[in-house]
Each structure stands twice: as structure tokens, then as C-alpha cells.
Subunit: 352 residues, 2 copies
Amino acid sequence: MQRSVVPSELQVEVEQFPPLEAPPSTHVDPFKLAEPDLRPLSDSIKDLVGIDHPVLNKVARHFFDMQGKRFRPTILLLVSQALGSARDSPAFTRQKRLAEIAEMIHTASLIHDDVIDVSDMRRGARTVHKIFGNKVAVLAGDFLLARASVLLARLGDTKVVELMATVLEDMVHGEMMQARAEPDDLLSFEHYTLKNYLKTGSLISLSCQSAAVLSGAQADGALGVAARDYGRHLGVAYQLIDDLLDFTASEEQLGKPALADMASGLATAPALFAARQFPEMAGLIKRQFSQETDLEAAYDFVQRSDGVAKSRRLAEVHAQLAISNVRALPGRDETVKQALTQLCHDVLNRRA
Amino acid sequence: MQRSVVPSELQVEVEQFPPLEAPPSTHVDPFKLAEPDLRPLSDSIKDLVGIDHPVLNKVARHFFDMQGKRFRPTILLLVSQALGSARDSPAFTRQKRLAEIAEMIHTASLIHDDVIDVSDMRRGARTVHKIFGNKVAVLAGDFLLARASVLLARLGDTKVVELMATVLEDMVHGEMMQARAEPDDLLSFEHYTLKNYLKTGSLISLSCQSAAVLSGAQADGALGVAARDYGRHLGVAYQLIDDLLDFTASEEQLGKPALADMASGLATAPALFAARQFPEMAGLIKRQFSQETDLEAAYDFVQRSDGVAKSRRLAEVHAQLAISNVRALPGRDETVKQALTQLCHDVLNRRA
């Protein structure tokens, strides 16, 4: 199941890739463009998950309301239109359902992520756990996954079921890579890249590919691959910026402490790039910044290195690769394609 | 989604149902009969789950090795043959895969069941948690469910995917009913019966129905319904005996403390029947046996009541209903059908 997501030279030798092109001249807000289809979809998700049990309902709403922009559904609604689906077509109805399913899977993974261990409890329970407890978190996540499976089955396309089931596997595999990384894994860019793809990219990538299948395309044909690769590179760019913001955004902007990744023992792209310039950084990464002054020292190395700049450049390379795949989509509505391109720029430019 | 599993009069007025018929005159051991197909299947499950990650592998093996007899796969292999599938037929190959999937879902539910709350930890962590931790338990369960979804999708039958996805929903729903029962729910036989069906019966029932679909039958046709109802009534009987053994088996036989259900606040059939004879029992049930002498007092009420006998009789009614559905299956191998009948008697007769 291990797979190489991007050629390994792409991971560090980013200079040879073409620069990011300028954003579309007329600014199209992708979230505004998707909103007419997005709003009923949000209500629909709440209906789909909320009927059975008041507590599950509460947990689910807690999560659905927490997330601001619906990144994944927005991508899928726009990609579906760029694939050629008219907004009143039967294909688009099924693609909207797929967008709901993707959001449910994403939410389930957030909920299961919040299950805590004894060790965490000693450090003080996290918010969601405090409200609902571990058991309810497990059940609520399971419930969303089960609902998603039922809805997927009803779409009646076994290729789509297989793609989305692979997403579930990938996400678990990614979490597992993170939970049980060996010291050498922690220092490996390949390990980091693959983990990011599995945790974040797979859902976006394979749900875009599924949208192509629902539009009548072959999963592995030109359209299926273009949709998949758009999602894949956008997802990787998104995660790289997320990792970078942990070093550059202030606590207030992020709504969480900066350096949270390193504080929890994780070395992301900026730290890994820094380790190439400052070999002493490797030791800190391998011991997961566990000694008292490690966090400060590591942050210092990152600031003295070009780690942040290189990470941004790597995100740009992925954004550009995503953009180049938009061109391969057959839809005639240029506004939709501009929105998909704009989304890549927005991901690069977000500040928190 | 609430559904009535058995007519409500069946739940308590068991006298009017015909008595359990005698077991087949020649004794057929269902587990021995299924064994030639069961052994490679066990290895196959380990291969299916074990390839990706050593820790997941370890967790999965821990669970797969713990379970002795493979109750669910045995049922499915025999039901498939009773539906008419020859052991060398393509249908049987897919039905064997279904048996693996059912066992994976069952195992995932056991693993997620073992995730513990802060409150549990204060009382001392449970075994599996101690070994692997909450996070790994969640991931391992998720992984098995994801694998099961992928394998299901590959079977390429959307009706089967839908039935098995419904099982996942039912199991979560059942757990949720148990985790969040109100005092009046605790006293309700309907609540108890539905919860048992959702937690235990649904998997057995709907996987038997899926086996019928894989044999070419309509899910809601005569064969689909006969397979489903065989599984359903067998599952309910199994759970009733399980609940009854908590009152009658010694600690040594069960490998766990007797009265474990009441100790964890759950009133099962014997306690619910006792409450109909001794109204004082109702108060104990509603407060989940939480006061110091409650457990002893409740056990006393059960012993003075006909709760255990009535529970056994109810299990017999379900076993007999399961047996009557065996007759509707078209397979010509009478030994297989005898084994399915014997299985119903074995469930009633187990001592631990």
C-alpha cells in the first residue's frame, strides 16, 4: 500500500520547477461561487446524520459548526462542474451527495482524532473529549463512517465505493505512521510526504477522482487522472501551508499555540529543511523535541534556515501542478475553472 | 431507523409458541463441518489485515487469536451451502470473502468497545487498553472497518454493500442506546430487545441475507428473508443465552466475573423478567444497581423469580424460529442443514 506520491526530487529540489503563474486577472471567490449548492448541502448533512440519536446529533453538529469554510465540498462541487456536469443534471445530484460523504468522512476523522490516551489525560483532557467522552467520540465517528458507507453504497457505483474505501484505509494508515514513527522516520522527507498525502491528500484526491467517475469518466482515463491529480496536489499544498503557518502565524491568528506540531513531537517541512542546513537539528527531531530547550533551539534553527521559504516554494510547486490539471478538465464554464485556479492561490495565501 | 425486531408479545408471552423440537438424530458438529473452509479463511483474514503495519497487525492478531470458535464465519459458510452454493462455485468464493468481512466487522466492534473513558480509567484500565492504548484501539478498529469496506466494494454488489453498511449503523446505534439509556429505557423490554438485535443480531442477520444475495437470490425474496431470519433469530438466541449465563455460570467457566452486566449497570432479560414479579426490582434497575447492596438484592430477586427460566424459554422460541427457516433453504446437502439446526441447539446448550 506504500506509494510514492510525488517524484522524490520534487520533494526537495524545487528550483527546477516552473514558477507559480499569476492568479486569474478577474478575481473569482470559489466559496461564493459554490455557495448556492453548498448551503443546502450543509443542511442536508445535518439531516443525514442527525435523525437517529440526540447525542450523536449534538456531537456531529458541534463538529460541523466548528469548521468554517467547507473546503472539501467546495472543491468537489467546482471540480464536478469543471468536469462538465450541469448544476441541474442527475450526475451533479450524485456528485453533491459525494461532497456530503467526503465531509462526513473528514469529520469522522477529526472526531476519532480527538480520542485521547491516558498519557494525554495526565496533561489535561482536550476540549471535545471533556464535553463528550472517549466512548461517544468513537461511536460518533463510527456512526458518521457507517452513514457515509450507506450513502456511498446507494450511489450504486462500486468503483466509487472502492475509491472512497481506499481513502478510509489511507487515513488510518497515515495516522498510524504518525503515531508510531521511529526516529529515522521522523527525519525522512519521504515519510513526511507520504504521511501528509495519506492523512489529507488522499480524501481530496480520490473524492475528486470519484466525482470524475460519477460524471461518466473512466477512473484511470485522462479526466479521472486530471481530477485526481488536481485534488492531490491541492491537498499537499494545503497541508504544507498548514505546517508552515505553525511556524509563522501568531497564536491569535491560528486560534492555537504556534509550534504546536513540534510541541507534540512532529517535525514538518520547515524543520526538515532546516535539518539539511543544520545537522544539529537532526538530533532534536529524532528525540521529538523532548528536552527542555529543544523547542526553542529548533525554532532558532528554522528561523536561521531557509526552511520556511523552501516549504512555501514546495507548496507553490504543488499548487502549480494542481492548476495545470484544471486545464485538462472539459467543462465550458470558464468561471468555474478560474475558481479552481483561484483556490490554489487562496490556499497559498491564507494567513491562518 | 427504529424497527421492531420481533412482535412485542413474543418478548414476554412465550408460552403460546410451540416447544423446541428435538435436535437432529445424528449429531453433526457445525464447526467441524465448516472447518475445511474455515481454516484457510482465518489465515486469509490475518493476511488481509496484517500486511500494512506491524502494530495494527499485532492488535488484530491479539483479537483474532482471542476468539475461539469463529461463530459468524461458521454460520455464513454453512448458510451459503444451504442456499445451494457448491464449495467449488464462484458464488462460494465470494461468500467466503463475505464471511471474512463479517469477522473483521465483528472484531472492529470488539476493539472499539475496548476504548475507555476517563471514568473507566479511575477504576483501572482494561486489559487491551493497557497493552495498546486508546488511540491504537481506535485506529486498529478503523483500519479493520476500512479494509472491510474495500473488500466489500470489490465484491461489486451494491445491495450487499448497503446491507453490510446498515450493519455498521445498527451496531453503533445499539452501542449508543446502551451508553445513553434513560432510567425508563433500562426497564423496557423493547429497548433491551432492540439493543440486542442492533448490537449482535444485525451483523449475523444481514450478513446471512447478503450471502443469499451473493447466491443470486433477491434480498427481499423468499430465500433472502429465510437466510436473514435464520441469522436474526439465531443471533437473538445467542445473546439471550449470553445474558443468562452471566447469572448462572461460575466465574471460572465464563472467564469473567458473573453478574458483570448488572455490575456495569445493565439489566438483561433475567433481571427484566424478575422486575415483572417483584416491583421493587424496578428501582434497582433504574438506578443501575448503583447502591452498595443493590447487586446482591437484585441477584436475590432474580433467583426467587422465574427470570432465568423465562429467558431460556425465550431463547428457545428464537432458536425454533431459526430452525424453521433452515427448512426454507434450497440446498440439497442435508448434513449442512442438520448442522445449521444443530447450531441452534448448541447455542442453547453452551455453558460458558
